[in-house]
């Protein structure tokens, strides 16, 4: 009897060590099966060509055919992120400082774009930015341009406009929540010693919410790098973004090798951001935004 009880106790002791692992099991196995396995298998397949493995053939082909597109993707992602942060910050600071109705209206209106998927944005931009689309026709009516030689937007310009349309409100959304918790007294104190709005924004608000700005930038960068629909709908030729090329390799050639090699380029682009984000979030125990 006694020995039976100690057996139970021993088991329970064991279980208390096992329990956290058991509780973690569903989440960890979910991540392993649905995220890490596809990630590793795509990396491995990028080094495989038929029976050959490992080989760099897929990477050489990807670089030979899509070099321009890879550089273009980096360019769009960096520019898009930078502009989204600058404009998003401006919008958020405006909403934070101004108490006018207009500011509230602009702020809530801009939120709408966060919930629209990129495919809708793509469709809108296609007709809005077309050579004889809404924007060019308006500009022509205002005698700014000649409709026979309209501004071409189905290139980096249109792409950036599309990305900004969605990402500026997103950055502003993230940043504004941090701005809201900045104590009003700091601003009043600054104003009382003669600080102008410019000083308040640059010397007080922005330094205080730096982490939120960086997080907004990281998420925006990763979104731009991985978006397929917008470049697919706006810029189908050269240069275009790598996601379009990946779809092209799979669709027309069923060539998963080169597609995976291109995918690895995107992972490498996103990885530093992801590592930074995770370190920051886990390190500072801030979860979510």
């Amino acid at each position: 009897m006694r020995s039976g009880r100690s057996e139970v106790k021993r088991r329970w002791g064991g279980a208390s060590k096992l329990l956290p692992l058991l509780l973690l099991f569903p989440a960890v196995s979910f991540v392993l099966v649905l995220y890490l396995y596809p990630l590793f298998s795509s990396v491995i397949r990028s080094f495989t060509l038929g029976a050959q493995s490992p080989t760099f053939a897929n990477y050489l082909k990807a670089w030979a055919l899509y070099k321009k597109d890879i550089l273009f993707t980096v360019e769009v992602a960096l520019l898009g992120t930078f502009l989204s942060i600058v404009l998003g910050l401006a919008l958020a600071c405006y909403a934070r400082i101004s108490r006018s109705r207009a500011a509230r209206f602009v702020n809530s209106l801009s939120r709408l774009t966060i919930f629209l998927p990129y495919v809708i944005v793509g469709q809108m931009m296609r007709s809005f930015l077309a050579p004889h689309g809404f924007l060019n026709v308006i500009l022509a009516n205002m005698k700014v341009i000649d409709l026979n030689s309209p501004i071409q937007f189905f290139n980096i310009r249109g792409l950036l406009l599309g990305f900004l349309w969605k990402e500026v409100p997103f950055v502003s959304f993230i940043v504004l929540s941090s701005l809201q918790v900045v104590d009003e007294r700091y601003l009043e104190a600054a104003r009382s010693v003669g600080a102008k709005t410019r000083h308040i924004v640059l010397s007080i608000l922005i330094p205080m919410i730096k982490p939120a700005i960086i997080v907004g930038g990281v998420l925006t960068f990763c979104t731009i790098v991985s978006t397929f629909t917008l470049p697919y709908m706006l810029v189908t030729e050269s240069p275009t973004m790598v996601t379009v090329d990946i779809a092209h390799r799979v669709t027309y050639f069923r060539d998963y090798g080169v597609a995976n090699a291109l995918g690895v380029f995107l992972y490498l682009l996103a990885a530093p951001m992801a590592i930074y984000y995770l370190r920051r979030m886990v390190g500072e125990e801030i979860y979510g935004y």
């Binding site: 030979a64 055919l65 899509y66 070099k67 321009k68 296609r126 007709s127 077309a130 050579p131 004889h132 689309g133 309209p150 189905f154 697919y232 709908m233 706006l234 810029v235 189908t236 030729e237 050269s238 275009t240 379009v244 090329d245 779809a247 092209h248 799979v250 669709t251 027309y252 050639f253 069923r254």
Partner: protein, 384 residues
Amino acid sequence: MKRCAGIVGLVLFAAWVALGVPEKVTLLYMTAGDINMLALAQNVLGPMFSARYPEVELRTVHTGPGDAGSQLIFEKLRAEKLSGKETWDVDVAMVHQVFMSWAAAEGDLLLQYAQDLETWQYVTSPHAKYALGTLVEGYVMPMFHSQIAIAYNPKYVPEPPKSYEELVEWVKAHPGKFGYNGIKGGMSGVGFVVGWVYWKTGKYEQYAITGPYNEQEIASWEPIFKELKEFNKYVTITAGNVGTLDALNRGEIWMGPVWVDMFYTFMLTGKMDPNIRLVLPAPGLPGQPMYFVIPKKAKNIEWAKKFVEFVTSPEIQAKVIVEMYNWYPGIDGSYVKDYVSPGAYARLYRDIAPEELRTKGLAFALAKYHTAILEAYEKWAIGG
């Protein structure tokens, strides 16, 4: 006792429901192609088929445009084969030509069924025998044939080019006014590029019909694609098949390759300037059929056959395929003519006569040449 009688009554009622009311057959139809293919199945073919056979309901799954759509169907069937299931989910599917080369390479995916159909006798198209060089006879029934042609705006182009040579001259004289969608945004652009290769090499027969595939030849294409690169400098690259149609309608471009059926559908629905016309420049442009295939272990094989038979009957081909959707019929046009309204027939053949279609309506290149053409374009015309 009462309770017992109640239970017996319930059991009897359940048995009556289970046995007495015939269960509806759900026929699962998977279709590739543009969004019009979904509308066709959901709004037209499904209800018509159910009206004739009330015990069957057509359930449609749409997989998307271009080869990607067929690719999804291929992957679904392949997965079903690999799963080792006795019966498969998909009863009947609508695929592009390229699907057939994948299915042939995979093996054991499809049923040889076409000869069992009553409508097999009406099929005369060479595409029902070979699809991009793959022997497909018996495995496919063409639902329709779709053709690429050059659409032009007579207001700005009073005399459309009759050949690729004339087209190139015109484009150089009118920079930016010819538009096509490259090779990443749909098949009308791909077709234009394939036509370019046929024109420059003069080897249509070898590349599209007889073969054999000669890898050495690909390197000799470099100057051809360099010329295309030069040509592209004078061209507007549009965003997709619809992008070309929209640009034509808005007057941004004056000429561009389009699918004939999409073009007429746009016109009939008021999305295309009704003055725009079509021309098929020499040596011609490719077109392609879409095929019905039946998976080897489909659950409802007999109903699937009935469905294909129904859609390939002269009456449905006339009323739906030609009149409503502006496709060329999948079966021989001579069987269809009696059922089509003269107006629809005249519209379809207004700009491109049947005889012209026979000589200048080409096939896409054999699968390996097709891939080589697309890669050559990326390598030399886009230039990495």
